[in-house]
């Protein structure tokens, strides 16, 4: 623009406008530096708003998965303890039977089995965060309704023993896969409990008191195989739970990595490069000073100063 003459008011006004622009830039850079963010509204983020909101959603989801997996991991860990303990109890039952067979005496057999059963029933009735672990969706009902062998033997249907339903807890590992993480008392322990019930039934007819009769010997011997199988079955459940723990741990890690990755991704969009913002602030400060100086120069460069002193 080539101007042959200048309007005084306009030159002051444009110098003033320059100063204000510089001040506005300074304020913006200052707020960038102080809150560390590029902008604080949709207009400020403009075209990147869409990416930002989408990333926030995925991040929120990943964080939610992390929270859920953390809870799930503690639940699975409780399940692991319970399942390992029940399988251990099944093993002890087997050892008791082997002991009885080898010593040919059954003085402590029934007391021992009764105690093992009570412990197993008690373990299956464990609660985690106020909910019964093994009762399916009947979370406020203890899954095992009997606590001693006599009651177990008296039960007519499996429903009299187990009060859990058939709904196994499922959990989402990520957007696309779901795993069944719940175990039901009936499917975990029915085999083991059936064997104990069988022994109790025999005990009711020919009590296991001292020396074993040959029939009792034969019977107990026949129970060893199934007891081993029940023990292995329980061990299998514990192993299944262990695999689930592994999967949940993996998912937990991958979701938290995802959340971290998204945090840094969001940071790249939303967070200001502090060094750059600081430089901008310094430049803006300089610009403010320069504009002010320009105004001062403008004020002094007038004929008034010359003519006025005549």
């Amino acid at each position: 623009m080539t101007l042959t003459r200048i309007s005084t008011a306009f030159s002051f006004r444009s110098a003033g406008a320059d100063l204000m622009r510089a001040q506005a830039r300074q304020v913006e850079a200052q707020s960038n530096v102080s809150n560390g963010k590029r902008a604080s509204d949709l207009r400020g983020f403009g075209r990147s708003s869409e990416t930002l909101i989408a990333a926030r959603t995925v991040q929120a989801r990943a964080k939610s998965f992390v929270d859920q997996h953390t809870l799930l991991a503690s639940e699975l860990s409780a399940q692991n303890q319970a399942l390992t303990r029940v399988s251990e109890l099944a093993n002890q039952a087997k050892q008791l039977v082997i002991g009885a067979i080898s010593s040919n005496r059954a003085d402590t057999l029934m007391d021992g089995l009764n105690s093992l059963f009570s412990q197993a029933a008690d373990t299956l009735n464990w609660k985690h965060e106020g909910r019964f672990l093994f009762s399916g969706s009947q979370t406020s009902t203890p899954p095992v309704a009997v606590s001693n062998l006599a009651d177990l033997a008296a039960a007519v249907t499996p429903d009299d023993v187990f009060q859990n339903d058939a709904v196994r807890t499922t959990s989402r590992l990520n957007e696309s896969s779901t795993v069944t993480t719940g175990f039901l008392a009936s499917s975990v322990a029915s085999e083991f409990f059936d064997l104990l019930k069988g022994i109790q039934d025999v005990h009711a007819v020919t009590p296991f008191t001292d020396e074993l009769t040959p029939a009792q010997q034969t019977f107990l011997n026949s129970q060893l195989g199934p007891l081993t199988k029940a023990f292995e079955g329980l061990l299998g459940k514990a192993a299944e739970n262990g695999l689930l723990q592994q999967r949940v741990d993996d998912a937990l890690q991958s979701q938290s990595r995802r959340a971290d990755m998204l945090t840094s991704f969001i940071g790249e969009i939303a967070d200001v490069d502090v060094a750059e913002a600081y430089t901008r602030m310094t430049q803006a400060q300089l610009a403010v000073q320069a504009s002010a100086k320009a105004l001062q120069t403008l004020q002094n460069s007038t004929l008034l100063n010359v003519l006025g002193n005549r």
């Binding site: 623009m1 003459r5 207009r43 075209r47 926030r56 989801r61 939610s64």
Partner: protein
């Protein structure tokens, strides 16, 4: 040369210098007056009979440049327009919050998903259920606040148009008055620069408000015209009209002293007024529409998931949302199967199935036959929604009798009952029983009309309830009855955002209009080439689509139509015009769920359960996971503003909508900045010619001062010479 003529010449010098000094002082005094055009004194030597006879100030002239003025006026119009759009867009976008923070409106869906995931883990926990409800409430509360503030902004555009029109009229009035004064001064040769300057300032102001064309007036002053050439100044005074009590009040009209109001044949092009009309007619309605669509689809997605889940224990009664359809019309078009289950509530048998009614809407896979079956145990009952004897309700009530094969009576009491009143379907269980509606697990077998299951379509187990129709893809087909009472009248207006006349459409429901298709055809005949009304073959409902150029917006002037079932007017039932945007206001968590969080459907009905089996468990949280996933499922969005028909997840739509608003407001801001730069350049050019330079004025002052002094010296010299002569006598 006589001493007298010497005195006269010196006097003319004095007077001219005085005129000059007066001009300079006026210029200096106005150095800071915006729009002030500096004045100069044109002076010339007076010659009488060939001899010089002093000096005369022939005229005081404004150094105005009409071309530069036009350039600034045009640029000011663009600044006026873009700055108002930017201001309103900025205020609108701020309503949605910071997109980088979790508290932003578009991130509101995330905590809902999170809260339901947690609630699903402990389905019996009141605490988790309540916090899930709080998150849902918060989403719809936010939507309501945003929507009402958007409407507030829209209202402000009207108020601003009003005050702008008043200002434009008063400026036009004053400019006209000054025209008279200027031409009078021109004829009598008086100095009119003061009036001209005042007028030029008014034109500058006027040009930021409205786009005008400027021509020099024949007798001095200016002639102003609207963009379409309609004169705005002259003997016949013109005034703009807006917001009076006439049906035309929503548009800008021009009234001359001697005639009725006329619409502008072409609309406004620039200026704040154009921006305000654009905002009122296009930008803000589009934004409201988008927020309405997002909110309505969010509610629908939550309702879809909630209807697919079940409450444990089942509620005694399921009450649907209000449909604007007769029951046979609503059922006509359903396919697939649905199941109504009655379960025991409380006691040892809590959740056990007592009655199971399997409904099949098209057992022979032929929708044309319109007959369906209801199976209870081994009994199969058939229904035809269009028959008065075997209609859906009476057959369903039969199926809910203790003995579905025997007639109702004292010995055969009902286990449950269904009714349909005023568009609301209700299914009630008798005694300590609850009702659940469930769908088969295989998607292909599920009941479906226009993409909704039976329970979802009737809204039997909604989580969010709207106070009015919000779902426009009702499946209503062109061949189905429209359902509106005869005599109702609908008056619509197509606006193009320029304040000018576009087209008015009037529809009167006549006895001959039976089907929705007939209404569509009548509306289309009235709309002409500006847009088209259509009925989607799959999703149904009446839509309006604007022609591509110019984009028009549908405004509802009057609607006295009423649906015979729901009493709702046509524009609300089919979502025409601003009602689409109002949807964001209407939602709230269903009051009975809000009051009692145990009514949340966090469980799932065991579809395979037979009578006597357990179908519902209180600790079951599978339904909650379905609700948590609601924002990850692809759903259908209708066109809203500049987002076209699309299928995507709710979360993606939220992101897209945020992006659109962000982009729009950033563009508005950028456009304002570039308009200001251009205007600044134009103003700088103009002011370099027209503006006052103090130094220049000081130099002029010095010259005039010296010329004054010299003329005075001449008078003194003449006096001395007179004195010498007088002393000689």
């Amino acid at each position: 040369m006589s001493l007298t003529s010497m005195l006269q010449i010196a006097t003319s010098g004095l007077q001219t210098a005085q005129a000059g000094i007066r001009t300079v002082s006026d210029n200096v005094a106005n150095v800071n007056t915006p729009g002030y055009v500096r004045k100069v004194v044109d002076q010339e030597a007076v010659v009488i009979s060939g001899a010089g006879f002093g000096v005369a100030a022939t005229q005081i002239r404004r150094v105005a440049d009409m071309y530069l003025q036009r350039a600034t006026v045009n640029a000011a119009g663009e600044v006026g327009r873009s700055s108002v759009v930017a201001e309103f867009m900025d205020r609108a976008q701020a309503l949605f919050g910071d997109p980088s923070e979790p508290s932003s409106f578009f991130s509101r869906l995330n905590p809902i998903a999170d809260a339901f995931s947690i609630a699903g883990k402990s389905a019996t926990s009141d605490l988790y259920r309540s916090s899930a409800l709080i998150e849902v409430t918060r989403l719809f509360d936010d939507a309501r606040v945003i929507s009402s503030q958007l409407r507030d902004l829209s209202q402000q555009t009207k108020t601003r148009i009003d005050s702008t029109v008043t200002r434009v009229n008063s400026l036009l009035d004053d400019i006209n008055k000054l025209n008279v004064e200027i031409s009078r001064a021109g004829i009598t040769g008086r100095d009119a620069t003061g009036a001209e300057n005042a007028q030029s300032q008014m034109i500058d102001e006027l040009s930021t408000l409205i786009d005008v064309r400027i021509q020099p007036g024949k007798l001095g002053g200016v002639a102003l015209a609207a963009t379409d050439g309609t004169p705005l100044t002259g003997v016949n005074r013109a005034r703009f009209l807006f917001g009076d009590d006439t049906p035309d009040s929503g548009r800008l009209r021009l009234q001359y002293d001697d005639g009725p109001p006329v619409s502008l044949s072409e609309g406004l092009v620039g200026g704040q007024l154009k921006a305000l009309f654009e905002l009122k007619d296009l930008i803000l309605p589009a934004l409201s529409d988008q927020v309405g669509e997002f909110t309505a689809q969010a509610a629908d997605a939550l309702n879809r998931a909630h209807n697919a889940s079940a409450t444990a224990p089942a509620p005694n009664e399921l009450t649907g949302r209000r449909l604007s359809m007769a029951l046979p019309d609503a059922l006509d078009g359903f396919k697939g199967q649905t199941t109504i289950g009655l379960t025991t509530v409380g006691g040892a048998n809590d959740g056990r199935l007592e009655r199971r009614v399997d409904i099949n809407f098209d057992p022979d896979s032929n929708p044309a036959t319109k007959t369906g079956t209801m199976t209870v145990g081994g009994t199969v009952l058939t229904f035809d929604p269009h028959s008065s004897t075997a209609d859906f309700l009476s057959v369903l009530n039969q199926a809910l009798l203790t003995d579905p094969t025997a007639p109702a009576g004292a010995g055969n009491p009902p286990l449950g009952q269904a009714s349909f009143t005023g568009g609301v379907l209700k299914i009630t269980a008798a005694g300590a029983r609850g009702v659940t509606v469930a769908e088969p697990p295989e998607p292909a077998l599920q009941s479906d009309r226009a993409g909704r299951s039976f329970s979802h379509y009737f809204g039997l187990n909604d989580l969010v309830r709207a106070n009015g129709p919000t779902i426009y893809d009702s499946g209503a087909r062109a061949d189905q009855p429209h359902g509106f009472a005869v005599g109702g009248e609908l008056s619509l207006r197509l606006n193009d955002g320029a304040g000018a006349r576009f087209r008015d459409i009037t529809l009167v429901i006549e006895p001959g209009d039976v089907t929705l298709g007939q209404l569509r055809d009548k509306l289309n005949a009235a709309a002409g080439i500006n847009g088209a009304f259509s009925i989607d073959p799959t999703y149904g409902g009446l839509r309006f689509t604007s022609a591509a150029q110019p984009q028009v917006n549908l405004e509802i002037v009057r609607d006295t139509t009423a649906h015979t079932v729901s009493s709702e007017p046509l524009t609300r039932v089919h979502g025409l015009g601003a009602f689409r945007g109002f949807r964001a206001d209407l939602f709230q968590v269903r009051p009975d769920i809000a009051a009692q969080s145990s009514k949340l459907s966090l469980a799932q009905f065991e579809y395979g359960a037979r009578v006597g089996d357990r179908a519902l468990s209180r600790g079951d949280g599978r339904g909650a996971f379905t609700i948590a996933k609601a924002n990850e499922i692809d759903i259908r969005f209708e066109r809203a503003g500049d987002i076209s028909d699309t299928r995507m997840t709710l979360s993606n739509y939220a992101a897209q909508l945020g992006g659109v608003i962000g982009r729009r407001s950033q563009q508005a801001q950028e456009r304002m900045v570039s308009a200001e730069t251009i205007a600044n350049e134009a103003v700088s050019r103009r002011s370099s010619v027209e503006g006052v330079n103090i130094d220049e004025e000081l130099i002029q002052l010095t010259i005039y001062q010296q010329s004054y002094n010299a003329s005075a010296r001449l008078i003194a010299a003449a006096k001395e010479m007179f004195d010498v002569l007088a002393n000689l006598i």
